[in-house]
């Protein structure tokens, strides 16, 4: 992905995002609502709203992404499992249909592939033959994982796949997703605001703010020792053990800018405690700092 920009009538929501995905890695896009992370992820699938204008390059295996890739080379796991499943077909039939839509497999062959894929995510014959409404939220999300992976895609985009689940099931589903992707060699792009999960499951992470990447690198250093002020603020606001109880949590003052409201300078400058004239004048570009890429004029740990 190179220089992705996605514009809407009220302004640009994604303003120049570039990154490469390595085959087989787990790459996380994190940030608050409106940061542009879902749009960026969906641009990888060619799924952006019709009113949006997309500029920049998104290449998959060296070529542009086309609708024909969907469900074959790339697959989406949405937040709400119900929206990926048809309520009026049995789960196994939906997978079999997906198999037959990309191959010449016969009915029986496709059904057996479907059952195999469901078994691999821990759904036995009972669940496979059920309609989606009969399954729990966690089981449905497993079915969606099986559906996404059934045709062996090279890239799986999971857009907040577990936000609707409780923490224990969230961890199980993410672990399963990561394992299944590893088993099939698929690259996983995980869009999430659950920083705890990202810390546990991602190899690399890109933190987005106001349509741009502010910090990108290996998950552990970025989340343990963030250097961009936005990443630092975001992590500091998490309630966690070890923090004195019933004390105020540090919050980022103000709100993210609306699309189109970002001026010439750094998008985070109005909320940044360390912003100066340079930050308000010039938008920082990604550069290497302390083993990661950071878009900030004054990252911490760097002499002023």
């Amino acid at each position: 992905m190179d220089g992705l920009r996605i514009g809407f009538p009220d302004g640009e929501a994604v303003r120049g995002v570039s990154f490469d995905l390595t085959a087989g890695e787990v790459f996380a896009l994190v940030g608050e609502s409106g940061a542009g992370k879902s749009l960026t992820a969906r641009a990888l699938l060619g799924m952006v709203p019709r009113v949006a204008t997309v500029r920049g390059k998104v290449l998959l295996d060296g070529g542009p992404v086309t609708p024909a890739h969907l469900g074959r080379r790339v697959a989406l796991i949405p937040q709400d499992a119900m929206s990926a499943l048809s309520p009026v077909h049995r789960v196994e039939d939906q997978l079999a249909f997906a198999v037959r839509s990309v191959s010449r497999a016969g009915r029986r062959e496709a059904l057996s592939a479907a059952r195999g894929a469901l078994a691999a995510v821990g759904l036995g014959p009972d669940a496979a033959g059920a309609y989606p409404h009969a399954l729990s939220g966690g089981m449905r999300q497993r079915a969606v994982i099986a559906l996404a992976l059934v045709n062996g895609p090279a890239l799986v985009v999971a857009d907040e796949p577990t936000t609707a689940l409780d923490p224990e099931r969230r961890e199980q589903v993410l672990t399963l997703l990561r394992e299944r992707c590893a088993a099939t060699g698929a690259t996983l792009l995980l869009v999430s605001h659950d920083l705890t999960a990202v810390r546990r499951d991602a190899d690399r992470v890109a933190v987005m703010y106001a349509g741009r990447i502010t910090e990108l690198g290996e998950a552990e250093p970025v989340l343990e020792r963030p250097v961009a002020p936005y990443t630092r603020g975001l992590l500091a606001s998490l309630p966690r053990t070890g923090l004195p109880r019933r004390t105020r949590l540090p919050v980022l003052a103000g709100a993210p800018p609306a699309p189109g409201a970002v001026g010439g300078g750094c998008g985070f400058a109005p909320r940044c405690p360390g912003a100066d004239d340079l930050c308000r004048r010039e938008e920082p570009v990604l550069r290497a700092v302390d083993g990661r890429a950071v878009a900030c004029h004054h990252p911490s740990g760097e002499a002023a």
């Binding site: 224990e168 975001l234 606001s237 998490l238 309630p239 053990t241 919050v251």
Partner: protein
């Protein structure tokens, strides 16, 4: 001293399924008690039974010494202003067609405490307390962010000066930095208003941070 809320041997059944199984706990005046557990453990059902939005099969729920479980509707309505709910999805808890101000005023009207002389000032005060500007009051819910809507819901819950707020997943629908803002707001309100909390969430870290005591539920029971 009588605790503000005293729940004893609470049992709730859906059909034949027992979802809350002999749950007992108290919340003292001005105390914040957290209730955590995985989905389906019965914590939200406990909240609904405490609010008497559903009828428990057995047990008592005493609020300020009065058992709510068998209280006639008329008397219950007289007590309701003193304990108020805050639910997870703020957009779902607000009418999409009414101005924010009017929705905050709603409990005052319902409970016959609205007067033209001092009602509007009370709404202004509530909005200020939760960090909303007067301009927000003239808008509709869809014109506010999720965090702002949750502030509206909290302001509305505080309108009748309750002694207890029952908060069911108040921050689960929010982004991390917004969540921190709402948690800070809850802690500020507790300090300034001395209102008690029953805070229900699957977010252990958030509940631990805000509460004096944390209770854990599993399969319908409190685990020690």
């Amino acid at each position: 001293m009588t605790p503000l809320l005293d729940v004893r041997d609470l049992v709730v059944r859906y059909g034949t399924r027992q979802v809350v199984d002999r749950v007992s706990f108290t919340v003292g005046a001005g105390e914040a008690v957290g209730l955590v557990g995985p989905s389906g453990c019965g914590k939200s059902t406990t909240a609904l039974a405490v609010l008497r939005l559903l009828q428990p099969a057995a047990g008592t729920v005493r609020f300020a010494g009065v058992d709510l479980t068998h209280l006639p509707e008329r008397e219950l309505r007289r007590l309701r202003p003193r304990f108020q709910p805050v639910f997870q999805d703020p957009h779902g808890a607000l009418s999409p067609r009414r101005r924010i101000r009017d929705q905050i005023a709603e409990p005052l009207r319902v409970h016959g405490r609205w007067s033209r002389a001092d009602g509007p000032a009370r709404v202004d005060e509530l909005m200020e307390r939760v960090g909303l500007s007067p301009a927000h009051g003239l808008r509709l819910p869809h014109e506010l962010s999720g965090g702002q809507c949750q502030r509206v819901v909290i302001a509305r819950a505080l309108a009748t000066r309750p002694e207890l707020l029952v908060l069911d997943e108040p921050t689960s629908a929010l982004d991390p930095s917004l969540r921190a803002e709402i948690l800070n707001l809850l802690m500020d309100l507790r300090a300034s208003l001395r209102v008690g909390f029953l805070l229900i969430s699957h977010d252990h870290a958030a509940v631990r941070h805000v509460s004096d005591r944390v209770l854990t539920m599993r399969d319908g029971r409190l685990i020690p």
